[in-house]
């Protein structure tokens, strides 16, 4: 997937040379295998730092609204996969940034790898990770594995139906084929099929090792509130300790605040140090948004999100 990086660098160098943008937000290589580090490039000399590969699983839209430059009206270029671009659109729809402030360098995405799945194939720590086309070559002190990238994709990438940015200023490569799924929410359906006690137990177990570092919240482009509800102290909405009730409350409300806004980019899961699949919460909301409102977030700059507008057609049989 590294093939388009030369194009990205050329576009970036050109934008800086013409003075069209002040910085380019992209990914650079990390200091350990399978790590990618978000980076802001502001000079042509640093353009070589930019990389793009299957480990760039965070969402760079997160660095636009929360960047001090954006408040000053500076123009920013962003290297955007399908989901990053959808979150940029969401930012624009929610008036966090203006369209003319952002230059979207679109990257057609063939999916990001599930780093935990790869790590679980090894008994010891991974020392080398390389990518050649659709093949991954991964090494540890004890063994070397060659795996097909499609076998170790993250779940959200396996079920992704929008790998190409819906809105962009320039594309770094030809769009990739987009899939349609017969059962886009099989994971949600599996949970829904359990009885209520089993579902409760499932979600309690899911979050039992949560350390409340809030990496899921902070990696999420949607979470830009100046003060999060868990950080409020008067009134204090939720306890700050490890009590399972407080942990559950945090996860439920964090997810609900993403209702009709989540693009299923997977940054929350990518960031979680404990490997908790917090998408289990938002997936249900995404399913409902699609089934009740025909809505997928971040596809259209002109349409208002379903929880933002009233329509006489809104489902209302829950009101009794």
């Amino acid at each position: 997937m590294d093939t388009c990086i030369e194009k990205i660098r050329a576009i970036g160098a050109d934008l800086l040379a013409k003075g069209e943008v002040e910085i380019i937000i992209g990914f650079s290589d990390g200091s350990i295998p399978m790590a990618a580090r978000p980076v802001a490039v502001s000079s042509r000399d640093d353009m070589e730092k930019l990389v793009f590969n299957s480990t760039c699983g965070l969402n760079l839209a997160n660095y636009v609204s929360k960047n001090s430059l954006s408040g000053k009206g500076a123009k920013i270029a962003v290297v955007a996969k399908g989901c990053d671009a959808r979150n940029l659109v969401t930012h624009m729809v929610e008036n966090q940034i203006s369209r003319d402030q952002i230059y979207i360098i679109g990257v057609p995405c063939t999916g990001m790898v599930d780093k935990r799945k790869i790590a679980s194939m090894f008994e010891d720590e991974i020392t080398k990770f390389a990518e050649e086309g659709d093949t991954l070559i991964i090494e540890s002190a004890l063994k070397k594995l060659t795996v097909k990238k499609t076998d170790v994709l993250r779940h959200n990438c396996q079920v992704c139906t929008h790998p190409n940015p819906p809105v962009f200023d320039v594309m770094a490569a030809e769009p990739v084929a987009e899939q349609t799924l017969d059962q886009p929410f099989a994971d949600v359906d599996n949970i829904a099929a359990m009885d209520p006690e089993a579902r409760w137990a499932y979600f309690q177990e899911l979050t039992q090792n949560c350390i409340r570092c809030y990496a899921c919240r902070n990696a999420c482009p949607l979470c830009y509130c100046p003060t999060c509800f868990v950080d409020e102290s008067s009134p204090q909405w939720v306890g700050k300790g490890q009590n399972q009730t407080d942990v559950t409350t945090f996860h439920f409300l964090r997810a609900f605040h993403c209702a009709g806004r989540c693009t299923d980019c997977g940054a929350c899961v990518e960031a979680c140090p404990m490997g908790i699949n917090v998408r289990e919460f938002t997936r249900k909301l995404n399913k409902d948004a699609l089934e009740l409102f025909g809505w997928e977030a971040g596809l259209d700059l002109e349409k208002r999100p379903p929880l933002d507008v009233y329509s006489p057609d809104d489902p209302n049989d829950f009101i009794k």
Binding site: I32, E123, P273
Partner: protein, 350 residues
């Protein structure tokens, strides 16, 4: 100091024996990786497990600890008076930790147990805890303990250091607590001291050879605090930071906490929770002012505390043991090794 040899076939029975008199903690693998946890009666520690995501600091310093309670029932004579909670004073043994984690406990001890202040909760837990470490035969790529005043076979802070020799453990008993632990397990087969020490030295050399990353800390002490504070690199270091608390929570030496009172019906409870300098709330004043308002301030604070303020205050090296947990877990790959070297190499332009 003496050596004992433990056949791995006898290990499980020894641990079961130990559980009769000790509360035993050890590495346990679950869906979220490997953690140091209290062992259920039917669970054995996974001694060969990879490095744990979280450090064992929680054995002495739980993420949430109930410290005081009171009743709000005004018909009770002592209503609204905070009382200590019943403590579990069963001796604790922590098995299978890596040597750097024991060294980390010694660094945390400087904060919780010093002439000015003795933290009753931490000190009481420390007094009853025995640390049984295993030398790291195959350090991972994030491990830089050798350049952080420690190493894969460091004995600092341990009561017993074991070496994994495939079919058996060779245990070096370092303290009276360690002796009591061995006796409680029934491990008593002596090993030749000189021979065992030679074996330890060989394993240590082999392990240290595999650690190929290092930090330089030699210049840190001479630097002026304000020069480092005002250094130009902090903007770049902090750019990718998302301000989560991962680095502080996985760190074996981060000791900051927050006190919270909660009430329900007629019960009031005072908790101590881990806090994180990465959170804006950490320094948020009641007035609304926040002296560390932006993430650059907070990122700088974390590294300055670990690598400069601590060093200056205690003169006991840096507040980092090189476990590499923050490097491995940081969602955006901020690497303390790079930051430390930046600080160590920094020259202020005259």
């Amino acid at each position: 100091m003496n050596f004992i040899t433990i056949d791995k076939n006898d290990w499980a029975a020894g641990i079961d024996q130990l559980k009769k008199t000790y509360l035993v903690f050890g590495p346990v693998q679950d869906e979220n990786g490997c953690q140091i946890k209290p062992l259920a009666p039917d669970v054995q520690p996974e001694m060969g497990a990879p490095a744990t995501v979280m450090s064992p600091k929680s054995v002495l310093f739980p993420q949430t600890e109930k410290i005081l309670t009171a009743t709000l029932d005004e018909s009770s004579k002592d209503h609204h008076i905070m009382k200590p909670v019943d403590k579990n004073d069963t001796p604790r043994a922590v098995l299978g930790i890596r040597p750097y984690d024991a060294k980390a406990v010694q660094l945390v001890k400087l904060n919780f147990d010093n002439p000015d202040y003795k933290d009753p909760y931490w000190c009481d837990a420390y007094d009853i805890t025995t640390f049984v470490g295993v030398g790291v035969n195959r350090p991972g790529p994030c491990d830089f303990s050798t350049s952080a005043g420690c190493g894969p076979f460091s004995e600092q802070g341990l009561d017993v250091l074991m070496a994994d020799l495939d079919d058996r453990y060779l245990a070096k008993v370092l303290t009276p607590k360690g002796e009591a632990w061995a006796a409680a397990c029934g491990f008593d087969t002596p090993a030749d001291t000189a021979e065992s020490q030679t074996l330890f030295d060989i394993l240590q050399k082999e392990a240290e050879k595999q650690i190929n990353t290092a930090i330089s800390t030699d210049n840190l002490a001479q630097k002026t605090i304000l020069d480092l504070y005002e250094a130009p690199f902090w903007d770049d270091v902090a750019f990718s930071c998302i301000n989560c608390g991962t680095c502080t929570f996985v760190c074996p030496t981060c000791w900051c906490f927050d006190i919270q009172d909660e009430t329900k019906h007629q019960t009031a409870v005072r908790f101590r929770n881990w806090d994180s300098c990465m959170s804006p709330l950490f320094t948020h004043h009641a007035s609304g002012h926040n002296p560390r308002e932006s993430k650059i301030h907070r990122v700088r604070q974390r590294f300055m505390h670990k690598l400069k303020y601590f060093l200056d205050k205690y003169d006991q090296g840096i507040m980092c043991v090189g476990c590499g947990r923050c490097v491995a877990s940081c969602p955006v790959n901020i690497d303390i090794r790079e930051v430390c070297n930046l600080m160590n190499d920094y020259q202020k332009d005259k």
